[in-house]
C-alpha cells in the first residue's frame, strides 16, 4: 500500500477516535464476552471455555423472569412517557407562539437536580406517610394509608416515567416543529376535520420523533439499577439488580457477564420489535 500524505493525515485524524472506541468500548465488551464463557471457582476465575453460564441463564426461571420483567417495565415506562410527553411537545410546537426557547428550558428543569434525588423524592411522595397518602387521608377518601403505592413494579414505572419525560418531549417536539404547516392547511382545504388531520398528517410525520423517544427511553431503562433498588421492593427488582449482585456479593463475575450479555441481546430484540411496530403503524396511517 502506498501511503500518501492524505492517507497519513486521515489516519492521524481518526486515530484518537479509534483509540477511544477501542479502549473504552471494544476492550470492555470483549472482556465481558470472555468472562461470560469462564467459570468462578470460589475466589478464582477458571479460564476454560464453557457454555454453562448461558445454560444457567436460559434454563433458570429466575433469570428469565427478571429479564422479561425488565423488558415489560421498560416497555410500560416508554409507553407512558411518550403518551404523556406527546401533548406537551404538541402544545409547545403548535400553540406556543412567543418564547419557545423558554418553554423548552422549563421542560429541562427537573434535570437540575440529581437523578438520585428525584428517585428519593418519589419515595417521599409514595411512602406510607407520604404526600399522596396524607392528602387522600385528609380528604377522607381513604381510612387507612394505602400500602400498595411503594415497593412494587408500578412505583418503578411511575418514577422512571417522570425522570425520563424530557427525553421524550424534546425529540417529539423537534419532529413536530419540522412539519410543513402548509400540509396541515392543505388537509383542511381538502375537507378533513381536526381529528383526521392529526391522524393522517401530524401523527405520521411525527413518527420519527416517537421512534427516537422510544429508543432513548427503552434502552437505558431496561438496565436501570437505582430506581428498582430504591422503590421496587422485591417484586420490582430488575435484571440489573441481579447483575450487580453477581459482581458484588455473589462474587460470580462470569455469571454476571453472561446475564449482562443476555440482557443486551433481549433488549436489542425488543427494541427492533418496537421500531418495526412503529414503522408499520406509520405505513398504515399514510
Amino acid at each position: 500500500m502506498i501511503v500518501t500524505k492524505e492517507t497519513k493525515t486521515g489516519l492521524l485524524l481518526s486515530a484518537p477516535a479509534t483509540l477511544y472506541v477501542l479502549l473504552l468500548i471494544a476492550a470492555p465488551v470483549a472482556l465481558t464476552i470472555a468472562y461470560s464463557f469462564w467459570t468462578q471457582d470460589f475466589v478464582e476465575v477458571r479460564r476454560e471455555f464453557t457454555w454453562a453460564n448461558y445454560a444457567e441463564v436460559f434454563s433458570d426461571p429466575l433469570y428469565r423472569t427478571l429479564i422479561f420483567r425488565s423488558v415489560r417495565i421498560a416497555a410500560m415506562v416508554t409507553f407512558l412517557t411518550v403518551l404523556l410527553a406527546y401533548p406537551i411537545a404538541y402544545y409547545i410546537a403548535f400553540n406556543v407562539k412567543k418564547s419557545k426557547a423558554l418553554w423548552l428550558f422549563l421542560v429541562t428543569i427537573p434535570f437540575w437536580t440529581s437523578y438520585l434525588l428525584r428517585v428519593f423524592s418519589w419515595k417521599i411522595v409514595l411512602a406510607q406517610n407520604g404526600v399522596v397518602n396524607s392528602a387522600l387521608l385528609s380528604l377522607g377518601i381513604i381510612d387507612a394509608p394505602l400500602d400498595t403505592l411503594l415497593y412494587n413494579s408500578e412505583a418503578v414505572v411511575v418514577t422512571l416515567a417522570h425522570a425520563w419525560a424530557p427525553f421524550a418531549i424534546l425529540p417529539i417536539f423537534v419532529s413536530l416543529e419540522k412539519i410543513d404547516r402548509s400540509l396541515l392547511e392543505a388537509s383542511k382545504d381538502l375537507g378533513e376535520g381536526p381529528v383526521r388531520s392529526f391522524l393522517r398528517v401530524t401523527l405520521p410525520l411525527s413518527i420519527p420523533g416517537i421512534v427516537g423517544a422510544c429508543l432513548i427511553i427503552f434502552i437505558p431503562t431496561v438496565g436501570d439499577y437505582v430506581t428498582p433498588a430504591l422503590v421496587g421492593g422485591s417484586d420490582g427488582a430488575m435484571v440489573a439488580n441481579m447483575i450487580q449482585v453477581q459482581f458484588g456479593k455473589a462474587n460470580n463475575w462470569p455469571l454476571g457477564s453472561a446475564l449482562a450479555l443476555s440482557a443486551v441481546v433481549c433488549v436489542t430484540i425488543a427494541a427492533c420489535i418496537v421500531v418495526g411496530a412503529l414503522k408499520l403503524l406509520e405505513r398504515s396511517l399514510k
Binding site: V43, Y151, S234, D235, V245, F247, G248
Partner: protein, 348 residues
Amino acid sequence: MKVTSIALGATFASLLSGTAMAEQITVFDWSGYDDPGFFGAYVEKYGEAPNFSFFADDHEGFNKLRSGFKADLAHPCTSVIGKMRATDMLSPIDVSRLEAWGDLLPTLANLPFVSADGQVWMLPFDWGNTGLVYRTDLVTGDINLQTLADPAMAGKISLPDAVEDAYALAALAVGVSDWSQMTDEKFQEASDFLRAVHTNVRFYWSDQGQLDAAIKSGEIHAAWAWNATELAMIFDEIPAKMIRDPEVGVASWACGYVHLNNGEGGDEEVYDFLNALSSAESGKYLIESWGYAHANAKSYEIADQDAVAAYGYSDPEGFMASSLFGFNPSQEIAAKMLKEFERIKAGF
C-alpha cells in the same frame, strides 16, 4: 544542575505520596470509623491519624483489595475472612505485640475466623447483635421468630438484604444454634421459613436509615435488625425493643482489623494502631458515643454503667455464649444460601 533536578524530583515525589513520613499507614475501613476517639493513643504518639480509605460493604471492599488496592489494615466483618484467607491477602497478627490481647472477651478471641491454624488473623474490635426488633405498642401478644411468618403481619415486616443476616434468622427459627449444625436438611427448612416470611416482607433493608425511618413511622412493625436500630429508637424515644432472650433466638456479629500483606506502611505503626484500637479507653468511647459493644472486656468496667445497662451489655460473655455467632456454615452451604436467598427475594 543535574543534582538539583534530581533533588527537586525527589521532593515532588515525596509531596505526591502525600506525607513526608514514608511509614504512614493506610486503613481501609467502613465510613465513620476514622473517628479519632477510637485510636486516641495513636494520634497522641504520631500527631496525626493514619490515612483512611472507605468501603460501603464487605464484598465491595474485598473486590477492591482483590483488584490491587494497597492498604495496611482493613476492617471486614466475619463473612469475608474466609475469602481473604483463601486469596492469601492476610498476614497473621503477632498477639505478643498486643498489650490488650489477654483482656479481650474470650468468645471473640476464640472465634473460628479469628484464630485458625494456630495463628490469629483478626483483631476483634466491635460486635453487636442482630435480632428481632419490634414496636412494643403495635405488636401485641407473644412475639417470637415464627411471628414474622404469621399472615397477620403481611406487609409489616422487614428483613435485611444480606444473606448472612437473613440465614442467621432462619437458622435460629429452625432450631440451629451453632453453624456446624447447618446440614442440607436444615438448610431446606431454613429456606422454607424465609420463603414463608417473604410473603410478609414489605422491603428488604440494605440501608439502616431506611429501616429506622420505616419503624419510626409505624410502617414496619417488626424487623430482623442490628442493635444499632434499637439504639436509634432509644435515642428518638420510640417504643421499640430488641429481643435478646436466647429462648427466642438472637444472633451476634463481629468485625475487626486484619493485617494485609501488601501494605506499604511501617510495621510498628500497624501495631501501635492495633494497640490503640483494642485499649479499654477506645472501648469506653465506642460504648458511650456509638452505643456499640467493644471487644475489650475491661472497657465495660470503665464505661458509664447506665449506658452499659441501657444498651444490654451488662454480661457480654454470658450473652454471647447463648447467641448464634457470625456466619460460618460450610463453604458449599454458604454458596447455596447465596443463590437461594436471591431466588426467595424474587418470589421463587
